[in-house]
Assembly symmetry: none
Homo-oligomer: 222 residues x 4
DNA sequence: TATGAATGAGGCTTCATTCAT
DNA sequence: TATGAATGAAGCCTCATTCAT
């Protein structure tokens, strides 16, 4: 069984932290909580207007502080996007890791579980996932490459699961695992574009039907 | 068999054109050709940098004219985007219409043909399709609604093809055609994100494998 | 005696201000003072070059800040004009209110007082009044309507003073008060076009002679 | 009796004329007629939008030709304004000349006639007069000076009429003719701001009531 | 005369970011 | 931490004017 490696906190981002210089101790969890609020505000705003179109002012408004004050929590608008994408990646990667960590699952069962959890996560975190998939290109060259590298690693694990199933004869032999991974991801990811929470469709239903579709696509004889 | 109606040339058109209003000019195609060049330049630039990030200057540079001169051909940056999206829609809708016009095809054959042609088109017109799917949100309220309305119509035709196959028992009865259309589109559309022309993968191969995947997803028993 | 109502502070006010919305600031007047400086600079520039011809750059120059910085104080060039006109209207309306508030005056005495004060005010605030009467048309439809509505109300009060005098037989019975108000205003307002402060003519002299002329025009038998 | 001199075709404006260079003869009255059409279109447009706000495009639209073509008839936008103002001045000056040319009139009768004709003319040529009085400042230094010089001459003739009446004791001795001329003009000119043709008020009525008002202002004892 | 493409300058506005308080 | 004034660069768009055809 494949083993995902530590999922790319590499560049590590020694970012300015609100609990940094001046008066080091005194407040501790507050800084982190505030940090999280900033990320949430940014998520909401970036999703609503698109990263490029959203302004730092919008985020400050969402937080109820002034634009200038926001710079106590961020280095730049782009760094904020990166943090968001990085956080998203952590969570998406964690799902894969959890699924891979479960013992005793056959490849196809594992794949179905993976897709199910992933789609459910996406349905429940639409804004985050929308930004994750829609706005990577807005990062600087270097950061974009880091994110894409992480994704590629992630995709390779999924592809290797397909390959495993293929070796067991459960997936047609003439199917290209890496190529098919793209179709699988397409169905899964595209959810961020059409799913509307609050409608009659529950996340579980989306997850289950999407997994059905994908499993069919993988296993159907040619 | 369902019949798609004329696909939404209704709203947006009173645009400025070099061959524009007052007293129809005597030139016969130069204007239109230049118009097309503008669209192509915009396509290139919007794809490379994203609509929001691309500047009118970039497009003018691409054309080798001054920024101000570009406004002989467009009303605004946004109108240019709309024209692009509208044109894309025409072409995408044309594919569906052609496929629907063929007589004697069974629903599933028709669906496979549709997917194949659509994916091949996308592979060959990556920039256009990337913009078509990635940048709709940047349109003004009104124009966005028009585009989305057109798409919804398009999707309904595809869903109705699935329903037809379902009635013939070729697709599981418990599958929701409208919902499944989303997964189908996901696989198909996502191509714009990962396909790289010039690599070893030919458009026809992408089209064929994508169609296989989707047909499997539609027809596999639960 | 008629009573002018609060003169139209209804519409236009939700403007951006350095002392603006979110969490009322602790500063006590600096913001307002700067605001006033902006208005004064704009008054000077608009008067010198005409609203349409004046640039935001000119105003920024006058203030010694950058063009972009000016937008901390204004929403748009047009909103700035509106603020100017609104302020002017407040002051002009205040004069009328004061004159109407004095008790024990006969209509014609009141009219003479009104004209005198108004003309004196105009002579002393040429730039403001010039803009007030010269540049209303440059406002957006909605704002122009608000300003004109205010003026109409103002004029009606003046007309009603004429009507009062008429009832007492002090003004010819065949004279139309509303129509005559226009002539009265013409003489009064036109001052902004020809009066040059710093010349040998004092504001009081202009006011007195203008009032004489107008009272003659009102009362002379036909 | 005073004699107005030739009213300022001085600077003369050797303007580009459509009947100028290439193929001198052939069309004769056509050129002048077209010229007049251009002036009329400009009058309409400048009045509707204000000189500074009106574009050359607007005028071309009004004429049904293209912007570039308009430059066959004008040298520049400003020159067009000047032509307009110059023409207006000719007509306004002509009224004064005619009134001065009539023999056997007493000064006050002459004044009343002058005001009456002038106001009637203004009421019937609102657009022209509005531009004449509203947009002089938009001319270049030199041309503005020429126009204002012409006006000053005109005003002096009116002032001298007042002085004549004063010498006959028909106007209070303590009244300053030049100063009073300003009030007189104010009432007369302001008509361009409030009169609406097509309403119930006929030009003759405006003229008569305005003249009444002004004569009252001139003759009433202090 | 008329066209219409192109110019080039300038105008209004937005915005990420900095910094003194 | 928070403020809010200011920066400076850039973006979109308009427009008077020119010119080859």
């Amino acid at each position: 069984m494949v083993e995902p490696k530590a999922s790319g906190r590499g560049t590590g981002r020694a970012r300015k932290s609100p609990a940094k210089a001046r008066r080091a101790p005194a407040n501790k969890g507050t800084g982190a909580r505030r940090d999280q609020e900033v990320l949430e505000a940014a998520t909401k705003v970036f999703h609503a207007r698109g990263y490029a179109d959203a302004s730092v002012q919008d985020i400050a408004d969402e937080l109820g502080i002034l634009k200038g004050s926001l710079y106590h929590y961020i280095d730049s608008k782009e760094e904020l996007l990166f943090r968001l994408l990085d956080e998203s990646h952590q969570e998406v990667a964690a799902i894969l890791e959890e699924v891979l960590a479960i013992e005793g699952l056959e490849p196809l069962e594992r794949l179905r579980l993976y897709v199910t959890r992933q789609v459910e996560y996406t349905s429940k975190n639409l804004a985050k996932m929308a930004i994750y998939y829609h706005d990577v290109d807005q990062l600087s060259e270097e950061r974009r490459k880091e994110v894409l590298r992480n994704r590629r690693t992630h995709e390779r694990f999924v592809a290797s699961l397909i390959a495993e199933a293929q070796e067991r004869g459960e997936v047609p032999a003439d199917l290209d695992p890496a190529l098919t991974t793209n179709y699988l991801f397409g169905s899964m990811i595209w959810v961020y574009r059409w799913y509307r929470p609050g409608g009659k469709l529950r996340p579980q239903q989306v997850a289950a039907t999407c997994a059905d579709f994908i499993m069919g696509g993988l296993t159907a004889p040619r």
